[in-house]
């Protein structure tokens, strides 16, 4: 191997390896949307999809009822009162259902909130279609204010036969700081 040739291929190999490095750095960030896509496709992590548009002739399975339970949690120090109107509903797959969740801000200040849904069992997540959900928006309540927040949903008629109970859990996050910083990305 002549020295000149050695020098050239050193440069070429170095550049190749550097581009692998840059590529892997980008790949690390690409994992973020990839993860969301995988979660959406598989319902992994109990993530539910965005707003669902009700179809004209939604098939209703009259001879089957499914129980859906509602759970509410507050994240960290979030001070709001947060509870579902009803703890559970018996519904027929395919039919449009509605329920409400109540929130009240007992603290002395105005707070912005964001509710994050999660469904168990995870594989049921993609069969829960929400036509309207307070989790699609953020809520702002002044001190002492309260609010009834609607949820309208359809359970897909194709829900696997062995699933008879779904649990829909909402966790309420205080996002006042993120919003007031004007930096929230989502």
């Amino acid at each position: 191997m002549s020295e000149n040739k050695g020098g050239l291929s050193t440069k070429r190999t170095t550049l190749k390896l550097l581009s692998v490095t840059v590529g892997m750095f980008a790949f690390g960030f690409a994992l973020v949307p990839l993860y969301d896509i995988i979660c959406d496709v598989t319902g992994l992590n109990g993530k539910t999809a965005g707003q669902y548009v009700e179809q004209q002739n939604e098939r209703v399975v009259e001879d089957r009822t499914v129980k859906i339970q509602f759970i509410t949690n507050n994240n960290g120090e979030m001070p709001w009162e947060f509870r579902p109107e009803t703890r559970s509903l018996e519904v027929q797959p395919g039919e449009l259902n509605a329920t409400n969740f109540f929130v009240r801000n007992p603290s002395g200040s105005t707070i912005m909130a964001q509710a994050i849904p999660s469904v168990t069992p995870f594989r049921a997540a993609k069969y829960l279609h929400k036509t309207e959900c307070f989790c699609f928006n953020q809520q702002e309540l002044a001190s002492g204010e309260s609010l009834a927040m609607p949820l309208r949903f359809i359970i897909d008629a194709d829900l696997p036969k062995d699933i008879s109970t779904l649990t829909l859990s909402y966790t309420l996050y205080d996002i006042t700081e993120q919003i007031s910083g004007g930096l929230a990305s989502n």
Binding site: G6, L8, T13, L17, T42
Partner: protein, 533 residues
Amino acid sequence: MSAVIEENHHDDHHHGPAKGIMRWVYTTNHKDIGTLYLWLSFAMFLLGGAFALVIRAELFQPGLQIVEPEFFNQLITLHGLIMVFGAVMPAFVGLANWLVPMMIGAPDMALPRMNNYSFWILPFAFAMLSSTLFMEGGAPNFGWTFYAPLSTDFGPPSTTYFIFAVHLMGISSIMGSINIIVTILNLRAPGMTLMQMPLFVWTWLITAYLLIAVMPVLAGVVTMMLMDIHFGTAFFNAGGGGDPVLFQHIFWFFGHPEVYIMILPAFGVVSAIIPTFARKRLFGYSSMVYATASIAFLSFIVWAHHMFTVNMPLAGMLYFMYATMLIAIPTGVKVFNWVATMWQGSMTFETPMLFAIAFVVLFTIGGLSGLMLAIAPADFQYHDTYFVVAHFHYVLVPGSVFSIMAAVYYWLPKWTGNMYDETLGKTHFWLSFVGINILFFPQHFVGLAGMPRRIPDYALQFADYNMVSTVGAFLFGFSQIFFLFIVIKTIRGGKKATSRVWEGAHGLEWTIPSPAPYHTFTTPPKDLTEAHG
């Protein structure tokens, strides 16, 4: 680039290193830089070890005696980070710097100036990381895995320093790895094929690829943390549409290959030492190469076995469980080959061989407890207990660290020209071997009984084993001061070493005089029959 090579040529005319401290600051010599890496690694080993001894002292008895829980958590975090990034990784990079050019008949590393930078970044990175101990709010306290949102929403202000320190370590590792790959691919002695390279060179080539693949991902994940903390993004904040579990996926996508980064070069070291003292060629050389490559490949597709308890779909758990168990096959091939190399060999038990044999035995124990942890349904019992602590310390301390010590004893005569004192070396080995087993073996039992990791206090029924463990920790810890003494004594003098040093040693590094001259293989070696060990 040709300018760099001419410069090297020019250097050849001075037959030694520059004088004074500036020699070390400006050096581009692979042997000098190797030495710097090894000393930095040893200093970090003592610092991380000191943290570990405070942790073990606190755990000597139940209840809180010595440190506050907040400070305990900071020590746990810094111990992990410093041992992984400061002690084990730089030690292997130091060995690579010293040995790879000598083993492949190259005059130096391919990118000597970058080599200098990649070392000198590290003292700054670790100064920055350690300085967080003195900051308001204390050092990072969320464990070396820094799971978000614990590290983003609830971490101390010094988390930002931690993030930049990790960036620096990452840049250093990436530059070091690129240098090693380029050296191995382009600077081998004419005629040396890849399959003629010693196994240490092979394992480092593969490790370096792992590093350039995953260190950027680590840099990415800490950058996301930085943005979550300071720029209002919500990568890991569920309230803003992010996902904390995403953090664990990205972290372990880096983290699992990382554990192989810390063990593959150890495989290379042991594969050099065992044939020498068994006086046989390494059994199954090519299967060793393929096994190493298989382990490296598998390391990318098993990461989620660290997170069985985050609640994955059944199919995911089964996949990650079986894929993880698959790693036992190439690893088993390696252990088999080491044992087969010793089989019917004329074995002698000098210090490097003792460390290498201890490596094979104790690493296998650590590997087996890893298989137990891979069983998804059982993992729910083991997860985050001392059983996990025992497992990864068995693969990292009598695994990686013992292999580094074996390497130091094995090549020290080549580096310094002096033989170490065999009696002292063996004493150091037995103190370490006994200490390490007293230290970590009882942790399997308390872990199986349910003692959680990362806690400063524990239930009374764990008291006896913890006391035993602490005694072992101090024995092992203070034995390393003895190691320092042995190394310094060898550098200062001792019986002169021959070029070959060990009767059964093979490899190009043994064809040059001891101590190795400042510049070696300025003309490539002609005779490659010696090449692979």
